[in-house]
Symmetry: C2
Subunit: 350 residues, 2 copies
């Protein structure tokens, strides 16, 4: 088939960025620029919400959610999980963030020649178990093998289909002034668990990833009739990037309180050693929920009754002040602006 | 989240295959073994037809097709196409092979740090154009960047959703004794186009890939009420692997006639130089259709009226003899058995 001539005006300034950088996949501003300037205008024609965790599709009045993620985490196995379970949880969670019930997954493997067969088997087993726990079915797949030195063990892509059975519009556009923001636990563990292995750090206790499926707890909230305005999982770019995205997209101010954001002591210590801010560290089982005031108690009761999320708490409010900005009241009482992650911080964290 | 203990009995004999080989992704017997022994039993519980080009899902009596493919073709640009257009055509065609109308695509990019921004832009443009021509929408995506030396320019995964609006069951189980097999043109061009670039071969005329979307022609067949029994696109493993899969799966014999299978002279020449058999070479715009005798004329008229497929013709029949086997009557009148590709032939062809 003949290809037509290309429109050669690249929307990313080539003089500034002649090559793709690690940070273009890091979850921060460079990645958002790439998506907003290159991918969205070309693919999307503004019809779909590609920036949201999943796209919503209408099929004969049936609302479907559709999402994809590739997993390139290094190392493949880490405390609390592995690339297999992560590839299920991540996509299940993206579907869950629109309140969809996850139903079906595809699995695409890109394997580097020479990967131990037993390693592949462990990953497959882990995917199977994670899919069973999440109640999602892997129904179609693909296997590619690339020559040694042209990959890195294994990369996995999963795409997911879910069904939206509620009448809510769970997305940034539904966020209202005065909304309360709930989080389902402490932050920073996934990123630090990965970095500790990569850097060979040892702590008194092992820091385990928080990687977990969120569909069960989200379904409980929805089935209880909680009027959720918005949800977002706190993956690449961490809590701060998720909140900045929502503040910008909803054109509201977000104010959070530092002392209410739980960070485990060992995670704090590791962050200090590595020079990271926990607000920017990726999580794989944490999400924020934006709710009207009157729904907060009921929602908190439901979330914290799950033994994995017993530390769920309020971390902030949606404000009229500073639209488009996230501000944080620090432990000593000062207020500072929380930016989106600007460059790469932790490459290949998921 | 705690992971449970793994069941460590790997279904692929570790002593024989301690490591994944290129051939495990090559479209032949090793890949089929991996899928049948490792992936299908773990993921599938025999509920879905994972070996088919796409899975069929029932959602409120609505029949959906769902499929995924990762594209790792090397080089990224080749005569007649590039990884971008290929990543659209391949997934559109997988959906089409069940007679589904392709609707939505996801796009997952795994980019190697250092890829030229302009190269990415050309690929994105090519995807956009191919999606427009195929009438499919790219609605959700993901971008990962891996460190230099841990990828190879760019890998793209697409997953596709289509809707099945006919009442046929287009799959190997519907193949009947006496069915006629139609192909929509010559074979071998995609694989040879890639290999020619890779090996630096030069021919009098450039050999272009046959890469093309097949949804339009398939929809024409279906809308004309043609009772298609089975379709299969002739990608990895080529015509022979596709036919062997169907013969084994439908437990029928398939007899094809060598002189009726079109191979361009320059493709034949390249195959001789490179030591390949055109029957095993990947195509990206070719498919076989299994039909009852009385539908053949109408179907051939429809297919060959498309200017891209004017050379469509009959290549064989489904027979009672030799169930599970594909036999070919050679140009000199002898009959030989056509096997599935056993090892790797052309790695990273798609």
């Amino acid at each position: 088939m003949k290809t037509k001539e290309f429109n050669l005006t690249c929307p990313i300034p080539i003089s500034q960025y002649p090559n793709v950088l690690l940070a273009h996949g890091g979850g921060g501003t460079l990645m958002h620029n790439l998506i907003e300037k290159m991918f969205m205008p070309e693919f999307n024609a503004n019809e779909q919400k590609i920036m949201h965790d999943s796209a919503e599709l209408l099929l004969d009045n049936k609302r479907l959610a559709f999402t994809t993620d590739s997993y390139v985490v290094n190392p493949l196995f880490f405390p609390g999980g592995d690339i297999g379970s992560l590839s299920i949880h991540g996509t299940v969670n993206d579907l869950s963030m629109s309140g969809a019930k996850p139903l079906y997954l595809s699995a695409g493997f890109i394997i580097e020649e020479g990967l131990q067969m037993e390693t592949l088997w462990k990953i497959v087993q882990s995917m199977k178990m994670a899919a069973e726990i999440s109640g999602i079915k892997i129904v179609t797949g693909d296997t590619k093998v690339v020559d040694k030195g042209k990959g890195d063990g294994i990369f996995i892509n999963t795409a997911g289909i879910g069904v939206i059975e509620h009448n809510l519009n769970i997305n940034p556009a539904s966020v209202k002034l005065g909304d309360t923001i709930i989080i389902n636990g402490d932050i920073g563990r996934h990123g630090i668990a990965i970095m500790a292995v990569r850097e060979g750090l040892e702590f008194e206790t092992s820091i385990e990833s928080d990687s977990a499926p969120l569909n069960d707890i989200v379904m409980k909230l929805i089935n209880a009739g909680i009027k959720i305005h918005c949800m977002r999982d706190l993956t690449r770019g961490g809590l701060s990037s998720a909140l900045v995205e929502i503040a910008q997209s909803a054109k509201v101010g977000i104010n959070i309180v530092e002392k209410d954001i739980l960070v485990r002591e060992d995670v704090k210590g590791a962050c200090e050693i590595l020079g990271f801010d926990p607000l920017y560290i990726a999580n794989e089982g944490r999400f924020v929920t934006f709710l009207p005031e009157q729904e907060v108690k009921k929602a908190l009761d439901i979330i914290s009754s799950d033994k994995n999320f017993s530390e769920a708490c309020i971390i902030g409010k949606v404000t009229e002040k500073n639209p488009g900005l996230v501000t944080m009241k620090s432990a000593i009482g000062a207020t500072r602006i929380v930016d989106m992650l600007s460059g790469e911080q932790l490459p290949r964290i998921c």
